[in-house]
Symmetry: C2
Subunit: 343 residues, 2 copies
DNA sequence: TTTAATTTTGCAAACGATTGCAAGAAATAG
DNA sequence: CTATTTCTTGCAATCGTTTGCAAAATTAAA
């Protein structure tokens, strides 16, 4: 199958008639080794076509140089930007990224965590699944002293650092915006409220309604899985209401876009009849017509900051990092045509 | 830092007063080992909180159970779906995915390939960068017998398997569609023609024009990097032409969406004034107004098939796979409102 | 020249599992 | 009761590097 077997430092040592340890040191320019010897080693390595076996080296050093990433779902612009940021930082720091998805299942998430543990990742980055309600699967990491960073979908009061944005505040602001644009019946479409991101957005929404004395009733909340068909189904549901809302706050742009599109197709004018706001600042929000009011969720930065923070912990966490428990990135409401009702 | 040190099979062996090899075998239910002994081993492992060190095991077995993935860019719906498919297949087969991006740079691609090699991935999945013109960085894999699968951005006449769609045919079909809808001046907006995906689409476009006797001139081709601002810039350029096109074939949906949006904002009617077609069937194509005519590029399947094919090669490539050099997945033009000019 | 200081190199034990081979124990046959 | 066969278990080498410590070689100091 695989051709001739790999060249190792042993081969180099034998050819040069020197010891393995000298080769090992020479290869990494250890000052103990004579310049000429180093050169000879390099030449021979080159000549034999030697490729360092980092794998073996890592084994000996009990370090894998690998960061585990568990995400809820590998889907769409948001998550790919986030991974982009992570990969950039990790790659530059010489770490590899092992990526796996829980597909919103706690079971899968546990299995993935186990695999990561067994594979001895140096650190873990995780965004929780819909139904994760316990961090039992993360504890082994903590116990072994493997740093864990939570991002986006986090757990309140968890050990380890969380990298997030202020979902509550943004939801509050965007709902308030809809209210000040004159909306008096604002519906909220979101996903499983067990997860902080959705729970917080919902809380912000409710609080804004309350602060402005707008009544809320259960039929103003639609829970779904944020799939395309869910957005359309939500629109359909709204179309069939006798007393339609005049404002819509949807927890994700993609879903908002589908919903808005379907509403428009059925004669609803946006924003005149219904003002709409989304969340994430997905590119889709800038290509729908009218452009979608949304919240700028800096996905790339979340990824980059999470990775940076993890790596700095691995490099002997300065006390500053040690103490940190939550990193909240800047984010803000972006008002566009989909919600501008006043001239 | 890290608490107490790991429990190993040595610890289990010592505690149970049996040999290491027995523990090793017992842990994996080797039939040689007595049932009772196996049970004792499992219990003790459980009790001590043992976590198999796959890393060490892999080292000994000279197998990493890891697949390297090098993509051009971690961005957007297309690539995340593709990775989704890969992750699913890989995960189910017990493989980890190490993902890195070349960011469209050959240099980075080479560096990433080197890292993958040094990390002894069992196989490689790669989509080439814009400016990759040689496979020198891939040769070491071939030489070592490490299987390589190219997907999406491939190289003609390469060793290893390619998983792609028929870009030429789809581009031909979609251009032909624009022509039959009555377009007589069709522009093409695409990216670096060095890459097969763009080159083939261009070729299909040109061929269709030719077959239908539509003249082509250099100003009908716009090359850019497929970023949002590029889409807008292209629209701007078109707006300023004295003799505007009546058809537009853009090599990617996201870019098409930006371009179309900007044209619309400047009073161009779609499809009446200009019919537009994209590529990829990105969700964005279904939320823009009018919906975008496009080519269904089954990203998820590409990823899944690429991973499946790689893994089957690792599992002792049946001769069927051995001989395969190119896997072309089904794909087809999806006609929507953005190009429907006839009633 | 001797001795001390410095520079280079090598020995050998890790790292945590796997595995071919052989030996001991138990069961079956003759 | 011995000879076989079948189960179970253990020995020890191995995977490719790293690294503490000691030894050898070279250079500098006296």
């Amino acid at each position: 199958m695989s051709g001739k077997k790999d060249i190792t430092i042993v081969d180099i040592a034998r050819e040069l008639n020197i010891s393995i340890s000298t080769v090992s040191r020479g290869l990494k320019d250890h000052p103990d080794i004579n310049k000429d010897t180093r050169q000879k080693i390099w030449n021979k390595a080159e000549q034999l076509g030697y490729t360092a076996n980092i794998f073996a080296s890592n084994f000996r050093k009990k370090k894998t140089n690998t960061l585990g990433v568990i995400i809820h779902r590998l889907h769409g612009y948001f998550i790919s930007s986030l991974l982009d940021g992570m990969e950039k930082v990790a790659n530059e720091a010489g770490y590899n990224l092992i990526i796996s998805q829980s597909r919103e299942s706690y079971h899968k998430e546990m299995a993935n965590a186990k695999t990561m543990l067994a594979n001895r990742v140096d650190g873990l980055l995780i965004s929780l699944a819909y139904d994760t309600e316990s961090l039992a699967h993360i504890e082994p990491f903590i116990n072994k002293g493997i740093p864990v960073i939570f991002f986006d979908r986090v757990f309140e009061n968890s050990q380890g650092v969380s990298v997030i944005i202020d979902n509550y505040k943004n939801a509050y602001d965007i709902t308030k915006h809809l209210i000040t644009e004159g909306c008096s019946k604002i519906m909220h479409i979101t996903a499983c409220l067990k997860r902080n991101v959705y729970a917080e957005r919902y809380r912000g929404y409710r609080r804004a309604l309350e602060d402005y004395n707008i009544p809320f009733s259960d039929d103003m909340l639609i829970l779904n899985d944020m799939n395309p068909q869910d957005g359309i189904a939500a629109a359909e549901k709204i179309l069939q209401m006798e007393n339609r809302p005049d404002g819509l706050f949807i927890a994700e742009d993609e879903n908002a876009a589908y919903c808005m599109h379907h509403l428009k197709q059925n004669g609803v004018r946006i924003p005149e009849d219904i003002a709409i706001a989304g969340f994430n600042n997905d590119p889709i929000s800038r290509t729908v017509d009218p452009n979608l009011t949304t919240v700028n969720y800096p996905a790339y930065d979340i990824g980059a900051v999470a990775a940076t923070s993890l790596i700095s912990q691995l490099n002997g966490a300065s006390s500053v990092v040690q103490v940190m428990n939550k990193i909240v990135l800047k984010s803000e409401v972006i008002i566009r045509e989909s919600s501008r009702r006043k001239k």
